[in-house]
């Protein structure tokens, strides 16, 4: 059974005029796979994640996480939206444990597991800080930590590093790969950064401009763990070239 499954999902946002965001999108992510969706802005990438998070009911089609339909049913996957969305009224540690608490994990256990991750995510010493006292990079890491602490097998990440500078972003790539390799949960990662997608994913789905469709599926063959300087590898460059060409074509077609 696939971990994440979209079957002929179409979605049109009501309004004047109505906006057709997605047309017959199908994709399958196997358990333990790291998949990435790449596409131009406004191609419906975020809509796909919000459908899988159960926050948007699509006009047509079926979406499943671990075999269970997410249509109008939130709470099946760990979803990290684009903005870090920390609760300003909770200290860093309490922000990290929010989802675990809602899912019914005992408070003590949630805190213990969060504290372990604080070390891994480079947030140690900031457990009692308020979100407003953290830098942008730390807020983003805390949001990522909170997402990984949720007791779900599938993780949906929406441009988690979009707001970061290039240097922090590279560090975060190494971190994410590390953390993911540890327990190999299924990840669906949305980005518009081609290099980021190739660096992190096993499979890259390339989307067209609105209405979003899957233009092509690309396998990324590099062994793991991938070093950060893999970007300098000629095979990486070749793959990136091919991906960009496909993306250009997809944008023109859409």
């Amino acid at each position: 059974m696939p971990a994440i499954e979209l079957h002929r999902i179409s979605h049109t946002f009501a309004g004047t005029p109505p906006v057709e965001a997605l047309r017959e999108v199908s994709l399958t992510v196997e358990a333990g796979e790291f998949a990435s969706i790449v596409g131009p802005s406004g191609c419906g990438k975020t809509t796909i994640l919000r459908i899988l998070a159960g926050l948007i009911v699509p006009t047509a089609g079926e979406a499943r996480i671990g075999g269970r339909s997410t249509i109008g049913r939130p709470g099946l996957a760990a979803y990290m939206p684009q903005r870090d969305l920390l609760l300003p009224w909770r200290r860093a540690l309490e922000n990290a444990t929010l989802g675990a608490e809602i899912a019914g994990m005992p408070r003590g256990e949630a805190r213990r597991r969060a504290l372990e991750l604080f070390e891994q995510f480079g947030l140690r010493g900031f457990e009692r800080a308020w979100p407003a006292q953290l830098s942008g990079g730390m807020r983003q890491r805390l949001a990522l930590l909170r997402t990984f602490l949720l007791p779900f097998d599938a993780i949906l990440l929406d441009e988690p590093f979009g707001a970061l500078d290039a240097i922090t972003r590279r560090t975060m790539h190494a971190w994410l790969q590390d953390v993911w390799l540890r327990d190999r949960r299924t990840v669906l990662f949305v980005t518009h950064d081609v290099e980021e997608a190739l660096m992190l994913a096993d499979t890259v789905y390339i989307m067209t401009a609105r209405p979003g469709r899957i233009a092509e599926t690309m396998r990324v063959p590099f062994a793991r763990p991938r070093p950060l300087d893999i970007v300098a590898d000629p095979r990486f460059a070749a793959l990136k070239e091919r991906l960009l060409e496909t993306l250009d074509r997809a944008v023109q077609e859409g």
């Binding site: 159960g54 926050l55 996957a77 006292q133 830098s135």
Partner: protein
């Protein structure tokens, strides 16, 4: 430790430079008042000198506490009831759009009625005891609290609500983790305004008839032309109003600490 001491001293110095000029001005005003009354030989029942007001305070200090306690009790109970009902109604208004459409315009319109004019009716309904005063203060407090809390609840970040729901959170979880905390600062803003007026509201209600309280103290003093005693009461009302404001401010600091963070320094 030394940095804490330094910071405290620095803050005290900053406070002194903030309030120093105002305090100096007040002192000068009181001194000028004293001198003017003596020089111009103004009759004490028109305008008593500050020294005379102080004497009146010392003379009545055995009977005053009872009146102060009565009025403060009415004010504090009124704030508590008004805030509790207002906050509860705000949750209902924010949660049920139909209720909001029906009640909100009525609530806003009801504010054109000056609450003071209700005082005699409240006395007819509830007698001369504590109840009509508490009700009047509660009515006074209720509206700003309801409006600011409703706005706070409705203004909660939609994406935060979506986040909690994506975690499998129920409506209750959303209310508890997102809506109420994001409305608390607005609630306290409304409460600060109404707390300031609550003592005055209680006093006005007491003018209409009471067995005890600062309002009664003022009416009695007025009847016997004890203007100095009236000034004593005014001073106490001002002090009590400031104290209640400070109390609400303290509660806000304790319950919404994230709103009072020091500017961050050095954490990159």
């Amino acid at each position: 430790m030394s940095s804490v001491v330094e910071r405290t001293t620095a803050r005290a110095a900053a406070a002194a430079s903030d309030y120093g000029p105002a305090a100096l001005f007040l002192a000068a005003l009181v001194a000028g008042w004293e001198v003017a009354v003596r020089l111009l030989d103004i009759a004490p029942y028109i305008l008593p000198a500050p020294s005379r007001i102080w004497d009146a305070f010392l003379r009545t200090r055995t009977t005053l506490p009872e009146h102060i306690i009565t009025t403060l009790r009415e004010a504090v109970l009124g704030i508590a009831y008004g805030a509790a009902v207002g906050a509860g109604l705000a949750v209902a208004l924010a949660g049920v759009p139909l209720l909001r459409r029906v009640l909100y315009p009525v609530l806003v319109t009801s504010q054109t009625i000056p609450m003071i004019v209700l005082a005699p009716i409240l006395i007819v309904w509830f007698g001369f005891g504590e109840t009509p005063k508490v009700v009047l203060v509660a009515l006074w407090v209720f509206f700003p609290v309801t409006v600011s809390m409703t706005d706070g609840l409705l203004g909660a970040d939609r994406e935060l609500i979506g986040l909690v729901r994506s975690m499998g959170g129920t409506r209750r979880d959303v209310l508890r983790h997102v809506l109420i905390p994001s409305a608390l600062p607005a609630l306290f803003a409304g409460l600060k305004i109404s707390a300031t007026y609550s003592v005055a509201a209680a006093v006005i209600a007491e003018y209409m008839g009471a067995q005890s309280g600062l309002g009664l103290y003022i009416s009695r003093s007025a009847a016997s032309f004890r203007t100095d005693q009236m000034f004593v009461a005014i001073g106490i009302i001002a002090t009590a109003s400031i104290a209640l404001f400070a109390l609400v401010h303290l509660a806000a600091r304790l319950m919404t600490p994230w709103m009072y963070l020091e500017p961050r320094g050095g954490k990159g």
